[in-house]
Subunit: 426 residues, 2 copies
Amino acid sequence: MSIHSAVDIITTKRDGGVLSDEAIEWMLNSYVAGTVADEQVSALLMAIFFQGLSARELKRWTDVMIASGERLDLSRLSRPTVDKHSTGGVGDKISLILAPLVAACGAAVPQLSGRGLGHTGGTLDKLESIPGWRATLSNEEAIEQLESVGAVICAAGAGLAPVDRKLYALRDVTGTVESIPLISSSIMSKKIAEGTQALVLDVKVGRGAFIKTLERARELATTMVGLGHSHGVATVAQLTAMNQPLGIAVGNALEVSESVDVLRGAGPEDVRELTLSLARTMLELVGIDVDPATKLDDGTAYEVYCRMIEAQGGDPTAILPIARHHHVVSAPHDGIIQSVDALGVGVAAWRLGAGRARKEDPVSAGAGVKCLVREGDYVVAHQPLFELYADDEEHLQRGMATIENTVTLGDQAAPAEAILIERISI
Amino acid sequence: MSIHSAVDIITTKRDGGVLSDEAIEWMLNSYVAGTVADEQVSALLMAIFFQGLSARELKRWTDVMIASGERLDLSRLSRPTVDKHSTGGVGDKISLILAPLVAACGAAVPQLSGRGLGHTGGTLDKLESIPGWRATLSNEEAIEQLESVGAVICAAGAGLAPVDRKLYALRDVTGTVESIPLISSSIMSKKIAEGTQALVLDVKVGRGAFIKTLERARELATTMVGLGHSHGVATVAQLTAMNQPLGIAVGNALEVSESVDVLRGAGPEDVRELTLSLARTMLELVGIDVDPATKLDDGTAYEVYCRMIEAQGGDPTAILPIARHHHVVSAPHDGIIQSVDALGVGVAAWRLGAGRARKEDPVSAGAGVKCLVREGDYVVAHQPLFELYADDEEHLQRGMATIENTVTLGDQAAPAEAILIERISI
């Protein structure tokens, strides 16, 4: 027995007290060592859900998570490093465009990512629809590619903040996911361990995001920005709207195609706008004075993209998989699109086969949804609203059942919603 | 997978929602079956700590705990049945006197008890200091003794509300003991399963009790009284003071001796007073109009006690063990006893060897403390305050170190505190 007892630590937090640095260190390290049990940590996590963590507690908690694994050293790279993290949205393919774009402007973008779960797809799943592309690189390979190409999107190694995997798996089954300090430490521990100098957070808020209110989005953003700064990472957050899907494509290969469109200077306006906004903030943080729009329009961002895909074994010019079964959902009558429910579209894409319910599940490369309309659009009867794609009839039927009622048609003018809501920095 | 997911149930309670009857049933039964994990139940218990349980949820929770095991049928006994439960106090030997006393008045007292843990001793540990006495009876033996003697104090069989053992062990290591609905369901599930018609609860409040404030004691008492009535058990609670120890003796054999004194019409006044008060309430609940004081004074309660001990193999006239090492703590100067800290005395007795830290630990029969003074007493310098007893010098030293500072001496008159605070019934 140590001077710290797990029960004392749990009841201290439960009763609104403050945990000492030593108590946090002892608890998390004992959990990793297996001497503090899952049921004790889940009780503590639930107490944290109710009582929160102070800035000092959270910093220490995150420190211990980082110290549980390795920390990459990117300081020998010839370029400044800057990364982006999104809290997840429907149709959010921004990373695929942003990483090569910011690299084309002169920074190095070390995008070490996780897998998608639930209704928002994962960046790695999207890229894996490109024939030959592989997500897994060693740390050395990732650093080498950062130097040679300037951008890498790969699976975060198991060595970064390994206690986060254990904690996340526990939170997932114990109803303790939705806690701002726990979300913040989970995201930031991995980004800090990754070694980036600067970080832009895209905090999604709205019906299709896991954060529904501006107030909570601000709280999460402020917490993560504070945590980044306290660990020496220049961090800025942008709150962005996630009520309707981002762009047209929702699904793995569908989103890769749309990303290539944007990288070639075309593509949906909202995707281009958000990408450029995030790119400008990233470049600002590392002091690079280049207008990223020029790099989309002159083809250099697309060139970096091709080199980034090739460096990981992929063929950027290959024909992407398309799901064989499809269905078009049309407008029942004339009207103005009042809303497109991003969550409904995300769930439909997931049921069509584009997402997974469990870590072990495979995803379909070709399945997904194309959203052909946006809020405020005027449509006439029989005009296509969605195209659904699935690998088999069963998945197609499931997606069709879900997509109903995701669009509301009315006669009110619906002004286009701004994507950028606000910026949070220190 | 069932329609009920453990995570949905946890998050519903976490967010202040109400659990359906089916959800509670599914969760507890799945826990017993091993398909819901400890870490999920501990997260739910912590959520209940913060959000509570409604009367309806608590009734269902308790129902499922009762239904997890057997329920004794005492309806064929020729006498009405009435039991008492105390939430635990220092020097609380009331059960040893009360059970035979109430039996002597014509009721049957089925006192199925648990083991003591921590600073308050257990009734079974006390009785086990009597040579030959055994705590374990089969249900049939217990019922037979209830009919023939009228009183039985024995170990509650593993068959009564077995999920409570599992839940209690989990609460103990996860900081979720101190929750009124969880305490109430733990106590009442066993008492209801025991089959008693009526029940008196002795809810201790004060420095030496686990409930420190009158407000919380009232809340606990009201919750348990409601739970008893909703299960057809006529239940009344008495809130009683537990700031200083009850009586003189604190320790196993020491408390048996003191109980025998009271059973023979003598003994400390506070012990006699509390016993008679509880006895009167118990008799009132089963409609027996006998003054229990007469049964202490005429020796019939003691006779029933002897038969109760003999029925379980004990020799009520045997010499009880006395610990060989002892030490007297004396008053440093003249003064009035301002307070005697029951918690401090309880911990001292525990460290002297009278209590256990873990279920597996043995207890010393002869160790303990005699508290020779009470609040408001005038003492002169060198007058004995405490006698400490231990089986070896090491335990004696530990007890001596603890007993210091449990008495405060001053010059203020300290009025004697009333034991009975209030009565709570429906």
